[in-house]
């Protein structure tokens, strides 16, 4: 048979073989990892430092890694350099602006962009941004334009975006060197003093202090009210392109505090606060090294992933600070398997302060917690949809006991997708505070000049068709945290979670 023999006509149907010859070389197998990548759902920047609970177990969570971007050298944020239209730096600005504008136009999941005149907004904002007197203003204007879409996961970050170090911040020799360099790939040089600041009863409040940290050594305790970090008042947020919901304001202030506290290891930052008797105190805190090496996945900010698990009687308690397929998923799965093997009757999954990460991780995590197929919701892309549903994996023994998920205003994105999906399926109770309401699938793309743009490429709907974006996950059991509670050394949300986990008839 000759070369044409590969085509056989049987019963009038033509069978072709040529495509088959190259089948072994095609990349169709690779769709699965692409799917995983395109589910990057992570709100904002790297998570704030989160010291362990007041009564830590042997595996209590420790500090996390701050954002990666640092101000450029002496002229990064001062605005002392004039901006000429044809200057190299202005050309970079133009490339950043155009890159971000085009990426949103071409990749945003909503082709109509909410009905906005995207071309008109470019005509308005581009000249303003290019003429900005300094980098922080350039990025503020660019993000103001993006903010008109009124969505999370939509922002541009880049070198020089943040103002320079405050005047009263003392840099170590190592810090001065680190600040002058470009962003370090792994963020190893970034640390924090070991405290978490959140908005409690309307005021910035220390809610956790890491044992053995610089903050602990300075005598700071949960319940102290923070007024200034690095010489700057913490009461208000930088201008936003739109009105923020109260939970968004709390989320952003939490992130702002974390960014100000973070910095090169060994450098110092001032902190002014009110102690338990409302007496003002001021301390100079040194930034401690991170507990482990930071990793950078895709274009996300470097993060120190942490998984902490312990068992309290028949209740397993599992906390992790970011959703990553590597290395977090394996450790989480191992922890759940351990709880099951040791006869735990309930598992508490602590997602407080977890801003999200790789959205695809919700599938294997939910599969570990359900003996029956579970649908968590639908990811709606620009041109197609995909259902987040567990499948029966060989060799997996799911945990069948009660599941309680702890949330707060810092639980965002993938944390919300996970909590909402299990809550609607009545597989888990949610305890704590309303989540951030920032649940969109996104990608982070590089732009010229070291900048990046995060673009929402997918919407998320729960199995009942609800959106979490702009609403958040409403807890089954709302817990009101108070300053008095923190001063008393209590973790009222965890306490409520434990009560529910142990209750014979939870409601």
């Amino acid at each position: 048979m000759g070369v044409h023999s590969q085509f056989i006509r049987r019963k009038g149907i033509l069978y072709g073989s040529k495509a088959r010859l190259e089948n072994v070389l095609t990349l169709l197998r690779r769709v699965a990892p692409l799917f995983a990548l395109s589910l990057l759902a992570c709100a904002g920047r790297a998570p704030a430092p989160q010291p362990p609970t007041a009564t830590p177990g042997p595996d209590a969570p420790t500090a996390m890694q701050p954002p990666a971007f640092v101000p450029l050298g002496a002229d990064g944020g001062s605005g002392s350099q004039a901006w000429h239209p044809g200057s190299p730096r202005n050309q970079i600005r133009e490339a950043i602006f155009t890159g971000a504008w085009t990426a949103v136009r071409d990749k945003h999941f909503d082709k109509t962009l909410g009905g906005l005149d995207w071309d008109g907004l470019r005509r308005k904002y581009q000249p303003l941004a290019l003429a900005a007197p300094d980098e922080p203003t350039f990025y503020r204007l660019l993000n103001e334009m993006l903010g008109l879409l009124g969505q999370s996961h939509l922002q541009v970050h880049g070198p020089g975006e943040e103002p320079g170090p405050p005047p009263d911040e003392i840099a170590s020799p190592q810090a001065r060197t680190a600040a002058a360099d470009a962003i370090r790939e792994a963020g190893d040089d970034y640390g924090d003093p070991g405290l978490l600041v959140r908005i409690i009863e309307g005021k910035p409040t220390i809610t956790r202090v890491r044992p053995g940290s610089s903050a602990a050594g300075a005598g700071l305790r949960p319940g102290f009210l923070v007024t200034h970090i690095g010489g700057r008042a913490l009461a208000s947020l930088p201008p936003s392109g739109r009105a923020l919901r109260p939970v968004e304001e709390r989320f952003r202030l939490r992130q702002l505090a974390a960014r100000r506290l973070a910095g090169p290891v060994g450098s110092r930052v001032s902190l002014r606060c009110l102690d338990e008797n409302d007496r003002p105190i001021e301390v100079m805190l040194e930034r401690d090294p991170p507990p482990a090496r930071a990793i950078q996945v895709l274009n996300m900010s470097p993060v120190v992933p942490e998984v902490a698990s312990r068992q309290s009687g028949e209740v397993g308690i599992l906390a992790f600070n970011v959703f990553l397929l590597q290395p977090v998923l394996g450790e989480v799965q191992k922890a759940i398997d351990g709880f099951r093997a040791r006869g735990a009757k309930a598992i508490i999954i602590d997602l407080r302060g977890n801003p999200g990460g790789i959205g695809a991780m919700v599938i294997p995590l939910a599969a570990r917690l359900s003996t029956a197929p579970l649908t968590l919701g639908t990811i709606v892309y620009r041109d197609f949809s995909n259902t987040l549903a567990t499948t029966a994996s060989l060799g997996i023994k799911p945990f069948a006991g009660r599941v309680v998920i702890l949330t707060d205003e810092g639980s965002a994105s993938t944390s919300e997708i996970f909590a909402a999906g299990l809550q609607e399926a009545k597989r888990a109770f949610v305890v704590g505070d309303t989540t951030a309401g920032a649940a969109l699938g996104s990608i982070i793309e590089g732009l010229p000049g070291g900048a990046v743009v995060q673009i929402p490429v997918a919407d998320f709907r729960t199995p009942k068709g609800m959106t979490i974006e702009g609403r958040g996950v409403q807890p089954d059991h709302r817990v009101w945290e108070t300053r008095a509670g923190f001063l008393a050394g209590r973790d009222v949300v965890l306490d409520a979670g434990l009560d529910l986990a142990k209750a014979s008839h939870p409601q």
């Binding site: 044409h4 023999s5 590969q6 085509f7 149907i13 033509l14 069978y15 072709g16 073989s17 040529k18 495509a19 088959r20 010859l21 190259e22 089948n23 072994v24 070389l25 990349l27 169709l28 197998r29 690779r30 769709v31 699965a32 990892p33 692409l34 799917f35 995983a36 990548l37 395109s38 950078q296 996945v297 895709l298 274009n299 990553l324 397929l325 590597q326 695809a360 991780m361 599938i363 294997p364 990811i379 892309y381 620009r382 041109d383 197609f384 995909n386 259902t387 987040l388 549903a389 499948t391 029966a392 994996s393 060989l394 060799g395 997996i396 990608i443 793309e445 590089g446 673009i455 997918a458």
Partner: protein
């Protein structure tokens, strides 16, 4: 006068879509362009390596793939800090293993796709691969982006939606492939673009391909291509749970 006008109209060429060449003819030309069936029949196995880059998103990795002429196949794609995604078949069982869905035996449309991807060059398997093939017009988006004249063939699988392969009308080499990949969560549209054709051991194959699925594009570039390597049968066994 009217007769003159009518004769002028009659002399003008009739306009309409260019007739499509038969699918068989398009595939015949492709077969010749890549070396012909006999060149492939001389080969018994392939082991290739690719470097992977997720365009614009700061991710990279590699892929390694093995396949034999009797229908065994295994591929492993690893993306740094994301994980390893495996798929394979020992000729009977089609399986998949990845961090998201774990270890599974493939069924339905997923199994059908995997079976097609695992097929090598066995004449007796012709009938089992596709239900039907036909010539189709070049999709508008493909024509606009290709920058060259194309001819397209639609492949209808037994299960799942068809895919469309488009070939350069002059070189007859594959240029673009579009289709839908089944997954546990539903169908995922994809687009493959092929380039950097090279000759190896008497056959021609592409060294560069770009796959786009949703908002993400992965570029794969062959870094090593070895034919007729001895591959142990155990390589294709399904991993243990």
């Amino acid at each position: 006068m009217i007769a003159v006008l009518l004769s002028l109209l009659a002399a003008a060429p009739a306009e309409g879509p260019t007739p499509l060449r038969p699918a068989q003819a398009i595939l015949d030309d492709y077969a010749n362009a890549v070396g012909g069936l006999q060149a492939w029949k001389r080969l018994r196995s392939v082991h290739l390596k690719r470097a992977l880059t997720v365009t614009g998103q700061g991710a990279s990795g590699n892929e390694e793939h093995w396949a034999t002429a009797d229908g065994k196949t295994r591929s492993e794609s690893t993306l740094r800090d994301v994980g390893t995604f495996r798929q394979g078949s020992d000729g009977r069982v089609f399986w998949s293993q990845d961090p998201v869905f774990g270890l599974r035996k493939l069924e339905g449309a997923e199994q059908e796709d995997s079976r097609i991807n695992a097929a090598w060059n066995a004449e007796p398997d012709l009938a089992s691969l596709y239900l039907a093939i036909r010539s189709v017009p070049v999709p508008n988006q493909t024509a606009a982006e290709a920058g060259t004249d194309l001819e397209c063939v639609e492949l209808q699988k037994k299960l799942g939606k068809p895919s469309v392969l488009c070939f350069d009308a002059k070189t007859h080499l594959r240029v673009v492939q579009t289709g839908v990949q089944p997954s546990p969560g539903g169908d995922i549209p994809y687009r493959l673009v092929f380039g950097d054709w090279r000759s190896v051991k008497g056959i021609k194959t592409w060294y560069l391909e770009k796959m786009t699925a949703g908002p993400t594009t992965v570029e794969g570039r062959i870094t090593s291509l070895v034919f007729d390597e001895k591959i142990p049968a155990s390589r294709f066994n399904m991993p243990k749970p």
